[in-house]
C-alpha cells in the first residue's frame, strides 16, 4: 500500500490515475480548488477500494498555502511515497496575446506554482532518500508554436526544471518523472475536434501508474508523440517560422 499526494486532484487525468491507485488500496491525499468536487471524488475513491482518502482545498496560486498543505499531508499520511502534480489550465493563446496580466497568470498557474511545490517537496524526498515525484508537463513544451506558445513555454520550464531535478535527486534514490501527454479528451480540451489524436484520461492514467511502477524518466502519452515531437524539434527555424502549427 502506497501513500500518495495528488495536487490538482480534480483534473481528469489525476482523477483517472487516482482511481487505479484506489483500486489497489493505496492511501490518497487529494488537493484541489473545488471543495464540492473534492467531496464527490473522495467518496468515489473510497468505494473503489482506497484504504483512506483525505482532501485539502487549496488554490495552488496562493503560494503561502503550500507549506501548510504539505505539512498537513505529511501529518495525515505519516510518509509520502508518490507525489503527482497535475494541476494546470489550458491557456487561451489569443487572449493571452492581448493581455500581459493573463499571460503572467497562466505562467504562474502552469509553471511557478509547480516549481514552488517541487522545490519544497524535492528537499523532503531527498532527505528521506526514496520515493517518486511525478509531474504532468505536455508535448507542447517541446517547442513553442504560434498556436499555443504561452502554455507551451510554461510547460517547457516545467520539463526543464524536472529534468534538472531528476539528475540532482538520482543520487538520493528519488525518481522524478515527467509525463508529456498529447491531446487528451478532457473537459479542458472539449473544444478540440481532433478526434483521431485524442486519448482518454484513463489511458494516460494507466501510463502514469506504469511509469511510476517502472521508474521511468520522461514519458510521452501516447508514445507516438515522441516521434512527432522529435520531427517537430528538428525542423530548421527558417522553415518552422512559416509553418502553421
Amino acid at each position: 500500500m502506497k501513500k500518495i499526494l495528488i495536487i490538482g486532484a480534480t483534473s481528469a487525468i489525476a482523477e483517472a490515475t487516482a482511481r487505479i491507485w484506489a483500486q489497489r488500496g493505496d492511501e490518497l491525499f487529494l488537493v484541489a480548488r473545488n471543495q464540492e468536487r473534492l467531496n464527490v471524488i473522495t467518496e468515489d475513491l473510497k468505494v473503489r477500494g482506497s484504504s483512506g482518502v483525505h482532501s485539502y482545498c487549496m488554490d495552488a496560486n496562493n503560494f503561502e498555502e503550500h507549506l501548510p498543505m504539505i505539512n498537513t499531508a505529511y501529518d495525515v499520511l505519516c510518509n509520502i511515497d508518490i507525489v503527482l502534480i497535475a494541476h494546470g489550465t489550458l491557456s487561451n493563446q489569443k487572449e493571452c496575446e492581448h493581455s500581459v496580466e493573463l499571460t503572467m497568470q497562466e505562467i504562474k498557474t502552469n509553471t511557478l506554482s509547480v516549481i514552488a511545490l517541487l522545490t519544497d517537496l524535492a528537499n523532503r524526498f531527498e532527505a528521506k532518500g526514496s520515493g517518486t515525484i511525478t509531474v504532468i508537463s505536455s508535448v507542447a513544451g517541446d517547442r513553442g508554436r504560434a498556436s499555443n506558445y504561452v502554455y507551451g513555454s510554461a510547460k517547457a520550464m516545467v520539463t526543464a526544471f524536472a529534468s534538472g531535478l531528476r539528475q540532482r535527486l538520482h543520487k538520493s534514490n528519488v525518481t522524478v518523472i515527467t509525463i508529456k501527454p498529447g491531446f487528451v479528451n478532457t473537459p479542458m480540451t472539449a473544444e478540440f475536434k481532433n478526434g483521431l489524436l485524442l486519448v482518454k484520461p484513463a489511458t494516460v492514467a494507466a501510463k502514469i501508474v506504469k511509469a511510476i511502477d517502472e521508474k521511468k524518466s520522461e514519458v510521452y502519452v501516447p508514445a507516438f508523440w515522441w516521434t512527432v515531437m522529435a520531427v517537430i524539434k528538428t525542423i530548421p527555424n527558417k522553415m518552422f517560422k512559416s509553418l502553421n502549427l
Binding site: T10, I41, E43, D44, V47, A190
Partner: protein
C-alpha cells in the same frame, strides 16, 4: 460535433456539453433552450440525438456501496462495466443488464432496460430504490416508486425527456461465482423454440439466437441459450482485451450469402440437442463487448436495429407471419435474438409487455426502410410495439397507437416543466412536445 447512436444512423450536428458538477448542469439548463441528457450513446437510433446534449461522461462517481446489503448508489454516468468491475469480486451482480456493459446507469433508467432474466426479474427500474432527477428549472428531486410516483413512472423508460438523471440507488443481486452454466438447446423451427421457452420458464436467464434467413420447414430454427449462476467458485471480472474494428467493413463483404453462411455455421456449430458448458459471465452476458466497435460491421451507411414485442395473444402464429416477411426479404442479420418477456410494469413508456420480443439488425438502405414500414404495420396490428431505444424510423401514428399511456407521460412532463426543455430527434418525430 457530429453525434449519432450506436447504429450510426441518423447523425446530427450537436453541441456536446460535459458537466462536472450539478452546478454545471444547472448552468447548461439555463443557457440552452432545449437540451437532452445523453450517456454513452449506445441506444441505436436517434433517441439520444439532439442539437444540444448534456453528456454525463464526467458525472461518473460511485457514491456508496454497502457490501453487506448489496445496495449501490452512484452517479448517472457510471457504466455497467465499471460497476461490474467493482461488485463482481465482492459477490454481487447487476439485478438486470442488457447485452452490452458499455451503457450508463442513467441510460439504463431512461431506456428501462431489460435483460435475459426479464421473464422473472422484470426491467432495471424494478430494482431501483431511488433516483435523483434535475428538472428543467434546475430543481433536484429525489424520486422513487412511492415518492413522486408519477415522475418515477415517467422517468423510467422516459428516454431522458423528464429531466437529467443525476444519480441512482439500486439493489444488486448476490452471486457465489462469476461463472455461468450455459445450456444450449437446438430447435428446428419457430414452434419448437416457443415450446422450449415455455418449458424452461423457470431458468434464470434465457435468450434464443434465431436464424432469420432459412425458409420453409426450418423457419425460425433457433438455439435457446439458458444460463444459471454457478453456485460456487471464483469471483472475478477480468478486464477483457477488446478487439477494435479499425475501419468500416466494405459493402462487398456484407451480403445475403455471407450472412447466410454465418447463420448456418452458427446454427450447426452445436451438434447435439443440448450442450452444457461453464463460461465466464462476460461471455454469457456481453458476447459482443469484446469487439470494440462491432457497429462498423455494417459499413459507412450504418444500420437500424429493429426490436419489437408481440403480446402473448398474437401467439406463435403472429411471430411466424412476421418472420416470413423478414425471411422473404432476405435482409436478415447475423444475430437475431428472440426472448420471452414477463409481465409489463406500470411505467408509461417502458417497452416490455408479456409476450415475445425479436431483435435484429438491418443495414441502412431504402429497401430496409420500406421493409420496416411493413413490419411496423404488422406489429401494430397484432397489438405489439417497437423498442424506443432501438428505433430510428417509427411513425408518430404507430407510436401513439402502441404506447397507449403516451398522454399520461405528456401530462407528467407538463406538470414538472419538461415540455419545451427536453427533446430528442426521436421525441420530435414521435410527436411528443
Amino acid at each position: 460535433m457530429k453525434i449519432c447512436g450506436w447504429g450510426r444512423y441518423p447523425t446530427i450536428d450537436a453541441k456536446v456539453l460535459l458537466p462536472q458538477t450539478h452546478g454545471d448542469c444547472t448552468n447548461f439548463l439555463k443557457s440552452n433552450q432545449i437540451v437532452l441528457p445523453r450517456g454513452m450513446g449506445r441506444s441505436y437510433g436517434d433517441s439520444a440525438n439532439s442539437s444540444v446534449v448534456i453528456q454525463t461522461s464526467y458525472l461518473d462517481h460511485f457514491i456508496e456501496f454497502d457490501v453487506s446489503t448489496g445496495v449501490l448508489t452512484c452517479e448517472a454516468g457510471v457504466s455497467i462495466r465499471e460497476i461490474l468491475q467493482l461488485i463482481v469480486p465482492k459477490g454481487w451482480f447487476m439485478p438486470v443488464t442488457p447485452g452490452s456493459s458499455f451503457i450508463t446507469v442513467g441510460g439504463a433508467i431512461a431506456s428501462d432496460v431489460h435483460g435475459k432474466n426479464h421473464h422473472l426479474s422484470g426491467t432495471f427500474s424494478e430494482h431501483l430504490l431511488s433516483l435523483e432527477l434535475m428538472l428543467g428549472d434546475g430543481e433536484i428531486l429525489s424520486v422513487a416508486k412511492d415518492v413522486y410516483p408519477d415522475l418515477f413512472r415517467a422517468t423510467c423508460g422516459g428516454m431522458g425527456l423528464t429531466g437529467i438523471i443525476l444519480s441512482a440507488s439500486f439493489q444488486l443481486k448476490p452471486i457465489q461465482s462469476s461463472q455461468i452454466i450455459q445450456s444450449t438447446i437446438k430447435t428446428n423451427c419457430l414452434e419448437e423454440i416457443y415450446e422450449q421457452f415455455e418449458s424452461n420458464y423457470a431458468s434464470t436467464y434465457s435468450v434464443a439466437w434465431i436464424d432469420c434467413l432459412t425458409k420453409g420447414k426450418q423457419l425460425g430454427r433457433s438455439l435457446l441459450i439458458l444460463g444459471e449462476h454457478l453456485q460456487d467458485g471464483v469471483l472475478e471480472f477480468k478486464k477483457q482485451k477488446t478487439l477494435n474494428l479499425p475501419f468500416d467493413i466494405p459493402k462487398l463483404f456484407l451480403n445475403h450469402h455471407s450472412i447466410k453462411a454465418f447463420n448456418a455455421i452458427y446454427y450447426h456449430r452445436v451438434f447435439s440437442k443440448i450442450k452444457t458448458e461453464v463460461i465466464p459471465l462476460e461471455r454469457y452476458f456481453f458476447p459482443l463487448d469484446s469487439i470494440g466497435n462491432w457497429n462498423r460491421l455494417y459499413g459507412k451507411a450504418g444500420f437500424v436495429q429493429y426490436q419489437f414485442v408481440l403480446p402473448i395473444a398474437a401467439g406463435v402464429k403472429g411471430m411466424r407471419q412476421i418472420l416470413e416477411v423478414i425471411v422473404g426479404s432476405g435482409k436478415g442479420s447475423f444475430l437475431a435474438v428472440l426472448k420471452a418477456f414477463g409481465t409489463a410494469n406500470k411505467n408509461f413508456l417502458s417497452f416490455p409487455i408479456k409476450g415475445y420480443t425479436l431483435a435484429l439488425d438491418f443495414k441502412t438502405s431504402k429497401e430496409t426502410t420500406e421493409l420496416i414500414k411493413k413490419l411496423d404495420s404488422m406489429v401494430v396490428e397484432m397489438g405489439g410495439r417497437i423498442y424506443l431505444t432501438k428505433d430510428a424510423l417509427m411513425s408518430e401514428t404507430s407510436f401513439k397507437k402502441t404506447y397507449l399511456q403516451w398522454e399520461q407521460f405528456e401530462e407528467v412532463r407538463a406538470k414538472y416543466g419538461a415540455i419545451g426543455k427536453f427533446a430528442s430527434s426521436q421525441s420530435k418525430r414521435l410527436g411528443l412536445r
